[in-house]
Subunit: 334 residues, 4 copies
C-alpha cells in the first residue's frame, strides 16, 4: 500500500492546525517541516518528532518525500510551488496563489505543462452543505441554474494593518466566494459588476479598501449570480448559499452548534451561526485532506486545481476594477 511522506512549508497557526490533522491519517507521515522560524515549534513538536529545518532543500532534495504541503506566507507560495513541481507529483497549497495576478499567470505558464496534481486550499468546496448544493446542480434536481446567491460575512473585521497588506477585500476575502461560484454553477464567470463601501469602519476606506460589497456575476452558461460580503456580522460567521433554477431551488443555511430552541416569555431562541472559521469549516478541512490523500493513493485528479485558483484571482481582479470604475468588467480569460 502506498504511503504519503509529506514535506511541509510553513507552520504558523493554520499550518500547525493542518499538520495536526494530517498526523491522524495512518497512511500519511509528516517527515519534514521547513519554516523561517523554528523556535515556536520546539515544544509543539515534542511528541511528534518531525524533522524541523530552515533549509528548503531539506524537503526538495529528499527523495523519500512524495507530497508537499505549502502553508507558508503568500509571498513564498509561487517559488516553493514551482520547485515542488520539479520534485513531487502531489502538491497541496493554501490559497491564494499569490497577491499579484501577473505573478500567478507567470507561474501558470510554468506549472500547466508539468501535469502535476496541485490542490488549492479552497476548503469551502468540501463543506457538506455546499457539496449538497453542487450535487443538486449536477443531478439537475433544481434544473437549469438561473440564479446563484452567496452571503459571506466575517464575524469580525481584520486590523487596519492587515487590511493594508491584504490585497483588498476581493482578493483576500471574496476569493473564496469566487471559487465557490464557479464550483456551484459549473461555469466560468464572464462579467462582473460591483457596488461597495466602507460601512463597517471608515478607517478601512482610508486604508484604500472597502468592507461591504455586492458583486454581480454573469456566467458563461447565462446564469446570473450575486455575492454580498461584509467584514463584520456581529452575530457570527454568516456563510449561506442559494442556487435557484428551472425546477426548484436549494438553500444552504448556516451551521450552528446545537439544534436547541429555548422558549421564554421574551422570545424563542435558536443558536447563532458558529463564530470561528475553523469550527465552521471543520468538516470541510477534514474532507479536503481526505480528498487529496485519496487522489494521491489512487493517482486521481483533485477537485480544486491551480487553474481554479487562477480563475478566482481573475474574477477578483475584475471586481476591483468594476468597483473603481463603476462599470461592468469582463473577466480576463486564460
Amino acid at each position: 500500500m502506498k504511503k504519503m511522506i509529506a514535506g511541509v512549508f510553513g507552520a504558523g497557526r493554520i499550518g500547525k492546525f493542518h499538520v495536526e490533522n494530517l498526523l491522524q491519517y495512518d497512511n500519511v507521515e509528516v517527515k519534514t517541516i521547513c519554516d523561517v522560524q523554528l523556535d515556536h515549534l520546539i515544544e509543539w513538536n515534542k511528541d511528534k518528532n518531525i524533522f524541523l529545518t530552515k533549509n528548503e532543500d531539506d524537503i526538495f532534495d529528499d527523495k523519500e518525500i512524495n507530497a508537499i504541503f505549502i502553508f507558508s506566507s503568500t509571498d513564498q507560495h509561487i517559488s516553493q510551488l514551482i520547485k515542488a513541481t520539479q520534485n513531487v507529483d502531489y502538491i497541496f497549497m493554501e490559497k491564494p496563489i499569490s497577491k499579484s495576478i501577473d505573478a500567478t499567470l507567470e507561474a501558470w505558464e510554468i506549472v500547466k505543462s508539468k501535469s502535476k496534481t496541485i490542490q488549492l486550499g479552497f476548503n469551502r468546496r468540501f463543506d457538506p452543505n455546499f457539496k449538497k448544493v453542487k450535487e443538486a446542480r449536477v443531478k439537475e434536481t433544481i434544473g437549469v441554474p438561473h440564479v446563484l446567491k452567496i452571503t459571506s460575512r466575517d464575524p469580525e473585521p481584520p486590523g487596519i494593518d492587515y487590511v493594508k497588506v491584504s490585497g483588498g477585500i476581493f482578493m483576500d476575502m471574496a476569493i473564496h466566494d469566487f471559487d465557490m461560484s464557479r464550483y456551484i454553477v459549473g461555469s466560468d464567470v464572464e462579467e462582473v459588476f460591483v457596488m461597495g463601501d466602507a460601512l463597517v469602519n471608515p478607517k478601512i476606506k482610508e486604508a484604500g479598501d472597502i468592507d461591504t460589497a455586492i458583486i454581480q456575476l454573469k456566467f458563461a452558461n447565462n446564469a446570473l449570480g450575486v455575492i454580498d460580503i461584509s467584514r463584520e456580522a456581529v452575530y457570527g460567521y454568516d456563510q449561506r448559499l442559494e442556487l435557484f433554477g428551472s425546477k426548484g431551488a436549494i438553500i444552504a443555511d448556516n451551521k450552528v452548534e446545537t439544534s436547541t430552541k429555548l422558549l421564554t416569555k421574551d422570545c424563542s431562541c435558536v443558536d447563532n451561526p458558529l463564530h470561528f472559521f475553523i469550527e465552521r469549516y471543520i468538516d470541510a478541512y477534514k474532507n479536503e485532506y481526505e480528498t487529496f490523500i485519496e487522489a494521491f493513493m489512487n493517482n486521481d485528479n483533485v477537485i480544486c486545481s491551480f487553474e481554479d485558483g487562477l480563475k478566482a484571482e481573475l474574477i477578483a481582479e475584475a471586481c476591483k476594477k468594476s468597483y473603481e470604475t463603476k462599470t461592468v468588467v469582463k473577466v480576463r480569460g486564460i
Copy 2:
C-alpha cells in the same frame, strides 16, 4: 339554492365571536338570538338587526329557522339540544355536552334515535396543521400508527373561582385533546393512565384540581398515546402534535405570527407561539363553520358528532379516576 336561517342560544364573548363570523356567509342568516341577558347586546346588534329574545320558544316555534347554534352556558346545553332536535335537522353545539357524564349519557339515549345532524365545537379538528396529520394517517403516509403524542399547554391558568366550577382539568381542558386523539389515530381509547400534580399553582390543588398531567392512552388498534397538559406555558399557547408509525412520523409544530428570524450578538430569535386561542385557531373556527354550512347545504354528515363528544367525556371520566386511584382505568363503552 338552500339558505340557512339560524337561531342562536347564548351570545357571551365566544357566542358573539361565532355570530360575527356566521354573518359573513352569504347563505346564512342569523334570525334570532336567545339569551338570558340582552342588555349587553343592544349596541353590538345595532347594525345587525338580529331579533333578540329571552324566550327560547321564539326560536323553537319559528318554522323558518332551520339550524340552531347552541353557545349558551354548559348547564343549558342538553335541554336546548333535545328541544332543538325536535325542531330542526342541523344543530351546532359548543363542547362539552354537559358537566355530568350521566346527563350526557341520558341525552345520548334520546338524540341517537333522532338521526339529526349535530356538530360539536371541537374546533381543533379543523386546524390545518392537525388536519394534515390526520391525512397522513388516512393516506398511510406514515404507515400503521404506533405512537401519538400531544402537547397541550395553555398560556395562562384560569382563576381559582373558575377552577372550582370547571369540572376539572380533564373535562375542562384535556377534553379537546381526547377528541383529537381519537380523530388523529382513528380508533377508540380503551385504557388510560394518569400522573398529575399542581405544579403551577398550589391553590389549584386546594380547589380539588391539578394543573399539570401526563396522560397515557391505549387505543383499540393497539397504538399508544401520550398527552402532556399544563395550565401555564409562559411563552405562549403550546399546541403540538406528533404521530409516529411504521413508515415515518409527522410532527405539527406551533403557529407563529411571522416567519422572521432576528440575529443579534445575543441570540437568533424566532417568534413565540401565538398566545391567544382565537388567534391560534382562527382558521380552525372558519373551517368549522364552513364544514357545518356545507353539510347543511348538501345534506351531508358532519365531522364531529354528539357521539364523539360523549366519547371524549368518557375518556375524561376515566382519566379522573386513574389520577385518583393511581391505576390503569378502562374507558366505559357506549
Copy 3:
C-alpha cells in the same frame, strides 16, 4: 361616529375581492360601483345591493360619498384620481399609478397641491413579516442598515400577451420590491444597476422583456441593496427579505400553510411557500384596508402615498435604462 361611504371604480377580479373585504367593516358602506361593464356583477351583487353604474359622475357628484377606491384598469387611474381629488378627501388606488412616468409626473404636479390623502395599494408594506423587519430598522435593533436583500419570485410567468402590454418586468413586477426597498431601508434609492435575461422563457425576450434579473441599489443613506426577481419559481411564490446592519440582521422567510414536518425514509418534508398571491398576502390586504379606514376615521396620514408610488416608478425607469445600457443609472429626483 364617522362613517365611510365609499364609491368604487372597477370591479374586476381584484376589485370584487377588495369590495368583499370592505363589506366586512361595520363603519364602511360601499354605496356605488362604477365599471365599464356591469353584467358580470348582477349575480354577485344580489345580496349586496350596491348601486351599479357605468356613469363615473354617479360617484363624483354624490355628496354623500366621502371616500373613493380606484380598482379600475391602469389607463383609467390618473383621470379618475384627479377627479376624485376634487370631490373627496380620502382616496385608495391600486398600483401602479400609470404606465407612463411622464403621465405620473404630470398627475403629481396636480395632486401634490391638493393635500388629499391618497393611499396606493402597495399591500406588501402591510405584511406582518415585512412590518417586523421595518420595525427592527426603526427601533435600531439591527443598528445602522448596511445591506438589504429581497427575493421576489412569482410562481408562474404571465402569458406572452400580458407581457407585451405589461410595461416590462420592472414596472409590472419589481415595482412592489422598489417600494418595499424604500420602506424597509427608510431612505431613497439614488442609483441602480441591473443584469437580466429571459431564462424562464425565450418568448419573453422576443416580446421585448426579460424574466430574470438581479438589481443593485444604492440608497441615499449609503446602504446597499440587491433584489433578485424571477417570473417563475416552480415551488411557490417566493417572497423573502433580509436586512443586515451594524448590530445584526433580520430575515423574513416565506409563509407556509402548516407548520408540519413529515419524516419518511426518503426525506423530511416541510410545506412549500404558499402559491397564490392573495393567500400569501391575505393579512397584508386586511391590514391595508384597516390602515386606510383608520386614517379616514382619525384624519391621519396613510403609510403609502402617491409620492411613494411615483418614486417606485422612477426606480423602475432607471432599472430599465440600466438593463438596456449596462451602466449604473441615477434615479430621477422629484
Copy 4:
C-alpha cells in the same frame, strides 16, 4: 505533566472505535489491550504497536498503567471493574454495569468504599444538545422543571437473537434515557408506569420482549417525565428531548448532516436525522473522553459515576415490573 498510561479490556467494534479516538490525545498512551480473541486485531494494530494479550493480569499487574478502560462484553464488566479498582484510580467502563441488578448491587457494595473514580459510558450526557438543556435547568432559565419529555427511537430493530440475550428493552435501550432523565432533571426517579407492546415486529414479543413503550416518571422533586421509545424509526435515529418549566421550555431537536433545504414542485425537503449512532453522537464521544482525561489530569470527579449507572438500572428494573403488572412501581433506593 501527568500522562495517562491506559490498559484496555475488549476491542470489539466499539472498543476499537474508542481506542482509535484515545490515540489522538497527546497525553494518553494506550499500552495494552486484553481481549479473549486477538486475531482480528493484528492488522488493525500494525501502525499502533499496542501490546496485545489474552491475559488480564498483563494489565492488572502492570504498575505503569494508571487508567483502565473496560469495553469488554457486559458479563465481564463487574469482575474486571472490581480488580481494576484494586490497581488504578481511574476507570472508564461501558454501560450497563451488568445484566443483573443483584450483581450490580453487590459490586456497588464493594466499589463504593474504594473512592476510585469510575466513569460510566453514558455518552449522551456529553452531547452538546443535551448539555445545553441541562444548563438551562441548572441556570434556571426555564425556572422550576415541571415536565421532561424524551423521544428515543432507534433507526432499526436488532436481530431476534440479540433481543433474546439483551436483557430487555428497558435495560438494553431505555437505560440511556433513564440516565438522561436524572441528569437533565437533577433529581431521582421515584415511581414509574409503563405501557408497551411489540408494534414493530411480533417476533420480538415471542422472544419475551417489546419494541415500543411509553414510560412515565415521577421525580423526587415532583417533576413529571415521559419517555417514548421505539426500536424502529425508518427515517433515522430519533433523539429528541424537551424540558418544560415555570419560566419556559427548552427543546433539543435531532442532529442533521447539512442545513440545506431543497424546494421543488413536490415539497421542501430538509435533511433526515442522522442514522448511525456513532455519527449522531460523535461529539458526545469526544467530550466523554476529554472529560475523563481532564478528570484524570486534575484529580477531579467525573460526571457520570458507578452510582449513576446503578440508579439507571434500578429504574429499568421498575419499568419491567410496571409493564408486567400494569401498575405504578416504586424505584428501589440504594
